[in-house]
Subunit: 148 residues, 2 copies
């Protein structure tokens, strides 16, 4: 779906009952995150498209559930919406890297007591790490190490 490289007059609706973006980073719930992933990966999309992706890649989700959730996310400010056409087009309004970074920090804090290296340990001790990924790790470290 070469969907939707058009119109950019997004309106940002009121933040009634949800914490504002700037102040409190009220993080996306599990389901909201699934939706964000689709939007991040595929760019601006319709509810139909997102719902299809979820059903393909994740789990069975009812169309109306997805639709409702995306409206809520609009309200929370996680997405914006282009309503110039009949089928509205949603776009992620939060940065992928920032959001993931933030949530990863939470994991580090909550699960590993703030220690990123503990997380690393756990990750490296994990059987699921392939030799290829191991190589990637080393490359990464090397690259970052040479930088400064």
């Amino acid at each position: 779906m070469k969907h939707l490289e058009h119109k950019k007059q997004f309106l940002c609706l009121s933040m009634k009952k949800y914490k504002s973006q700037e102040n409190l980073p009220s993080e996306p719930t599990k389901s909201e995150l699934e939706i964000l992933q689709v939007l991040w990966e595929h760019g601006p999309s319709t509810v139909r498209f997102v719902n299809d992706k979820l059903n393909e890649q994740k789990r069975e989700v009812n169309y109306m559930s997805t639709q409702k959730l995306m409206l809520i996310m609009l309200d929370k400010g996680f997405v914006t919406k282009d309503a110039s056409q009949m089928t509205h087009v949603y776009e992620a309004a939060v940065d992928e890297s920032k959001t993931k970074g933030y949530m990863l920090d939470k994991v580090v804090d909550n699960l590993f007591n703030g220690s990123a290296s503990s997380l690393m340990m756990q990750l490296l001790g994990n059987k699921k790490i392939s030799p290829e990924e191991m190589e990637e790790f080393k490359e990464l470290i090397k690259k970052i190490d040479e930088k400064p």
Copy 2:
């Protein structure tokens, strides 16, 4: 699910409303995880002790909330309880490393599309990583690399 193999040597109450251990891996909720952390770090503890730790280290939590939650966790099989004394002593019934590993896997899957190296990238790109931790990383990689 494997991370939930637990022993029921103490009294284990009926599993009325919670998914049975073997079938569904109902993972600990956020609050439950906080409690598990305390138990993992300090070993078998009373509700009072756990609650105090939470209030010191995490956030304000009511004693009865902690108590109730620990009962629920008992029911779910996340903890066991020694009730031989008046003040009961709870112990984590799920393995720390296994549980964290399992939950980290979830993060890798949900947030980074199954790619552990993506997670690494995100982590290393994070400003919060100290030079010391960077050193630890390198050590880790080296160590694991020499192993096989």
